[in-house]
């Protein structure tokens, strides 16, 4: 700790920080632009000037940039000193000479860092009377808008996009005061992290296009803490709503998880909530097969009559909350509850749970992953399966650069200097996947192979680290040497990390990853493991348990069950068409609870309108084992209700005594009693009766406007806003806002800080944990002293087959995930289904890139467009999966591939 003296007061600070960081951490206000807590300092904007004095007798002092000056012990500085104040004011005045007269028509207005800083410095009158520079804008795709006139040349955008996120297609062009931030030509921004530009840019140059169509100012947007539903990482988000409609997703800082950034799937995938296929009222199938909207009581009455004979079974869902799954489980009985995932995926998830529970390597949070100084990726194409993790790994490889900088006495926040010093050094990242990944550019080594070969490499590395781990038979000399080399890299690291997961296409790969982590632990390394899971609550569902999907089919076929209740799940994404058809056909009655019409819903007798993540409260468990609560943002006034509440009402209507709770907290208590392993989810967030000074927390900013006019076209009597009984929020601007338990922040705002950078005021230290600790509770930790046995089953080496290919899954960041693909903006980025082939294999089949090929798999033939993937090993084909219009297939699997018959080529 060091002491600095700021305007006559003493503050305890970290000497390794810079003055700006240190002062902001203590709640002092210094204007700034180019510095960003995750990007470091470059000293480009000159806005953060303060006066530094050499000692008590130094009266003159000198102007320094606080972001470029270390917070060394004994530093004396003044923020309020007249010359510093004047300096900062004139800097803003210069930045503003070319600034357009745009605030009223600027999407940044009201949450603009430039507006905030202009006010803070007191620049209120424009003296400059000459012409302004202008630019032409570019089309950057469906996510991000561009209005270059507003740029103040802080360089944050390119520093984030290129240096931090590894993007290539955004850069700075032109010279002197003409610098231009954009692409070399109009076109879609390639990086899957482009949406962060909206929050990173301190002005209105880059704005959220999905919001622009229904633009609303920040002060009019209600918020609620939420959790991303588009992959298993559980990034924290704040969805914003106005007029009962979600209009954007903002990042919600969680120091252990997503920190400052989201991926574009998470940020722009929310569109499904407002989609045309939303189910808003209960539907009842009529005799002629058509579905008619009915009153809730009618639907419940019919449903209750089906429940009374006690022969109902339920299928849960990895995209529904723990609470909804538990309510279904309670309604039908634990032994009649089925996990709604493909059997193979269910086994894979069980393996993941076993690995995380038996240890010895604990799961890494994203922050811990970022701190790793050597990473082995086995089978996982992170940019497509768990995008935010890929961004994390990009930072992990910089550990070596930071270490080198430290040796050279360069502070870690001196961004340009650290990057210069570490230009050629990277911490080891080894990526072994079937196909090329978008992380390969930073990898020390990349290996391509079939899943079994990747697993063998993993097992070999584990054996090389700890000879007690099983050895791999029949390894070539070079493969053994390679494994030993990688083993040495991991052993040389202080905090090695192993990454694998559902994208790897097989349990063997995951077990191999576990062996490596275990071997590292046994040999005394502080190793951690990241295992990705496909959906937002995959791990929660796995922890809850449930019979496999095939058991549900069997029960229906044998007549042990008559009614099938499907919770938020499109079964056609879980198993092949024939078996789902057979299962639904075998059920006498099908009840579907979901928010969006899907194929399964078309087979239902009763369709119940379930709430999405914005119309419900609940808990998801992320791949790390972190239970995180999401809160209701929109209290729907039509038929839409939380799934657990519908299930609860069905239980009451059927006169059942189980599955009956009045509030979410009652349900969570019951869940904790019946499933002690999940009891800790109660601590994920405060209960609904939580109050601060007797007040609920307000979900709308204090200047939420228009409340006596919003409904005036319908009624002038100003109906009381509906109240959510399950959360400690008001549904209006009345209530408390200020420091609160960190899981509850519905938005971030502080006086004078209207932009997202208000966050500084809510952290212990800028860039550190939120006041009161980062939200979420870990429900899986390795048992103390746990040390399970090594996995022993090592697969045989991959052998090509004549006329057959091993089809492995190829995930797409846009398209493979069900819900985001329904969002209009994301749908624009989804490209058609394809089959990746090695060039030589393609030549053998006489197909070129884009040709139609027929894939004969699981008794069906699918016509796909061939994609030449030079990195794919021969004999392996990569099938894009999860895309709309592609059937569900269990992969990896062997299949025949033929050039498509001419009549099918288009």
């Amino acid at each position: 700790m060091a002491t600095i003296h700021v305007d006559g007061r003493d503050y305890e600070v970290q000497p390794t920080d810079n003055l700006l960081h240190a002062c902001l951490s203590h709640g002092l206000d210094i204007p700034y632009f180019c510095w960003h807590p995750a990007l470091g300092s470059v000293g480009a904007c000159r806005q953060c000037a303060v006066k530094e004095f050499r000692g008590e007798d130094d009266r003159a002092g000198r102007i320094v940039m606080s972001c470029m000056t270390p917070a060394a012990d004994g530093t004396r500085l003044s923020i309020a000193e007249a010359e510093a104040v004047a300096f900062r004011k004139s800097i803003i005045e210069w930045l503003m000479t070319n600034h357009p007269h745009d605030c009223p028509v600027c999407e940044e207005g009201g949450e603009c860092h430039l507006q905030d800083m202009t006010l803070m410095t007191g620049h209120s009158y424009r003296r400059y009377r000459f012409t302004k520079r202008t630019y032409r804008n570019q089309y950057l795709g469906p996510f991000v808008g561009h209005e270059m006139n507003r740029c103040i040349a802080c360089y944050r955008c390119v520093r984030f996009y290129r240096d931090y996120a590894g993007g290539r297609d955004l850069d700075v062009y032109a010279a002197h005061n003409h610098v231009y931030f954009g692409r070399h030509e109009d076109g879609v921004l390639e990086s899957e992290f482009s949406g962060n530009l909206v929050e990173v840019c301190p002005t209105g140059v880059f704005t959220d296009r999905t919001l622009a169509n229904v633009y609303t100012r920040k002060w009019d947007l209600k918020g609620a803490p939420s959790v991303c539903v588009h992959c298993g990482l559980g990034c924290n988000t704040i969805p914003n709503a106005r007029y009962g409609e979600v209009r954007r997703i903002l990042n919600r800082y969680n120091g252990e998880v997503n920190r400052y950034f989201l991926c574009d799937r998470g940020r722009f995938g929310y569109g499904f909530v407002n989609g045309p296929k939303r189910i808003r009222r209960p539907l009842l199938a009529q005799d002629d097969g058509a579905a008619e909207p009915v009153a809730p009581t009618v639907a419940l009455g019919r449903w209750a009559s089906l429940l009374r004979d006690g022969r109902a079974i339920g299928i849960g869902s990895p995209r529904a909350s723990l609470e909804a799954n538990f309510a279904l489980r309670a309604l039908v009985g634990p032994e009649r509850f089925h996990a709604g995932v493909a059997d193979a995926e269910g086994r894979l998830l069980e393996t993941v749970v076993a690995i995380l529970r038996d240890g010895p390597a604990p799961a890494a949070s994203l922050r811990q992953a970022e701190d790793s100084d050597a990473v082995l990726v086995l089978g996982e194409d992170a940019p497509n399966t768990a995008p935010r993790l890929a961004l994390t790994l990009r930072q992990a490889v910089r550990r070596a650069a930071f270490a080198l900088a430290e040796q050279q006495k360069i502070p870690h926040w001196q961004d340009a200097a650290v990057r210069d010093a570490g230009r050629d050094v990277r911490s080891p990242l080894v990526i072994a996947t079937p196909d090329a990944t978008r992380l390969d550019d930073i990898a020390m080594a990349t290996l391509r192979g079939a899943p079994d070969d990747i697993a063998r490499l993993g097992f070999a590395i584990a054996h090389a680290i700890d000879p007690a781990a099983p050895a791999v038979e029949g390894l070539t000399e070079s493969a053994r040497e390679q494994a030993e080399r990688f083993a040495a890299l991991l052993q040389a690291a202080a905090r090695p990390l192993v990454v694998s997961g559902y994208g790897s296409g097989g349990e063997a790969v995951i077990r191999a990853a576990a062996n490596v982590a275990q071997a590292l632990r046994r040999t005394g390394r502080d190793a951690r493991i990241v295992l990705t899971v496909p959906e937002c609550n995959s791990l929660g569902l796995a922890l809850m348990g449930g019979a496999p999907l095939s058991a549900a089919h069997a029960a229906l076929r044998d007549g042990r069950a008559r009614t099938l209740i499907v919770l938020e799940n499109d079964l056609y994404r879980r198993a092949d068409r024939a078996s789902v058809d057979a299962m639904l056909g075998a059920a006498e009655h099908v009840v579907v609870l979901d928010h969006t019409l899907n194929e399964t819903a078309y087979h239902a007798d009763i369709v119940i309108p379930a709430g999405t993540f914005v119309e419900a409260d609940g808990t998801f468990i992320s791949n790390e084992g972190r239970a995180q609560r999401f809160f209701q943002l929109i209290v729907a006034e039509d038929g839409v209700k939380e799934s657990w509440r519908w299930l609860n009402e069905a239980a009451r209507a059927a006169g059942k005594s189980n599955a009956r709770w009045d509030t979410l907290d009652d349900l969570i208590t019951a869940l904790g009693e019946q499933l002690p392993a999940l009891a800790a989810i109660r601590d994920a967030a405060p209960a609904a009766d939580f109050r601060i000074a007797g007040n609920r927390i307000r979900s709308a900013p204090h200047r939420y406007s228009g409340r006596t006019a919003i409904h005036a076209d319908l009624t002038v009597h100003e109906p009381k806003p509906p109240q959510n009984p399950d959360a400690p929020y008001t549904n209006s601007m009345e209530g408390y806002y200020g420091r609160m338990p960190p899981a509850l922040y519905p938005f971030f705002w502080a006086p004078s800080w209207n932009s997202v950078q208000a966050l500084n005021k809510f952290q212990d230290e800028v860039g550190g944990a939120l006041h009161g600790g980062d939200p979420g509770v870990r429900v899986i930790e390795p048992r103390p002293g746990a040390d399970s046995d090594y996995a022993q089953e090592i697969p045989r080496p991959f052998a090509r087959r004549d006329g057959e290919w091993l089809v492995v899954p190829q995930y797409r960041v846009f398209g493979s995930e069900e819900l985001s693909a329904l969002a209009a903006a994301v749908a624009e980025r989804v490209t058609g289904p394809s089959l990746g082939l090695n060039p030589e294999d393609a030549a053998m089949l006489a197909v070129v890139d884009g040709d139609a090929v027929a894939l004969e798999l699981g008794g069906a033939s699918h016509v796909l467009s061939a994609q030449i993937r030079p990195a794919l090993p021969r004999g392996v084909a990569a099938l894009s999966i999860g895309l709309p219009g592609l059937p569900a297939v269990a992969l990896p699997a062997w299949a025949r591939i033929l050039p498509a018959p001419p009549e099918l080529r288009t």
């Binding site: 745009d102 202008t134 062009y173 010279a175 406007s705 228009g706 005036a712």
Partner: protein, 170 residues
């Protein structure tokens, strides 16, 4: 006693003062142009809607009686709907103060009584007039940086032509 007499006397004197009360409604009082009565939305000199749907009037309104939604056409921002609940409005004029485009203006008309409260809810069609109101010359888009049909980048007042990003000349 004395004060009662004085009061009577003063009241008596009022008989000879100039009369302030007028015979409304036959006779109309004079109201200054800046009187704060019924609110209108004006148009710019080109006849286009002035309101750019910036929400500043709505946020300035102390009784929150303005509600609107932005939409856009060819880059120009408009309110998709614009509603004022005059049964709540206190005619403080803050909306006019806040408006960066002179779109929203208070007028010297106060005769808007209704028997039904809901008839005091005015929508954009009821608010929009065809003229410029108090500020005849002002057009926001002539000074803002947004490109709209008929005014490309660099064509607003005081703007240079767009930068050629490939040029390296000083």
């Amino acid at each position: 006693m004395l004060s009662a007499l004085r009061t009577l006397w003063l009241t008596f004197l009022h008989l000879f003062h100039r009369r302030e009360t007028i015979r409304y409604p036959e006779q109309k009082p004079y109201l200054a142009p800046r009187y704060r009565g019924r609110i209108i939305l004006s148009r710019d000199p080109d006849g286009e809607e002035r309101c750019v749907s910036c929400y500043l009037c709505a946020v300035a309104c102390p009784v929150d009686c303005i509600s609107l939604q932005k939409t856009a056409e060819d880059g120009r921002w408009y309110p998709e709907f614009f509603r004022i609940n005059f049964s709540r409005c206190i005619f403080c004029g803050y909306c006019e103060e806040a408006c960066p485009t002179y779109a929203i203006q208070l007028t010297p008309d106060f005769e808007m009584s209704e028997y039904e409260r809901r008839n005091l809810v005015y929508e954009k069609e009821d608010l929009l007039i065809s003229g410029t109101g108090k500020y005849p010359g002002y057009s926001f888009y002539r000074v803002s940086g947004l490109a709209i049909p008929g005014k490309d980048k660099g064509e607003a007042e005081g703007e240079e032509p767009p930068v050629d990003v490939k040029g390296l000349l000083p």
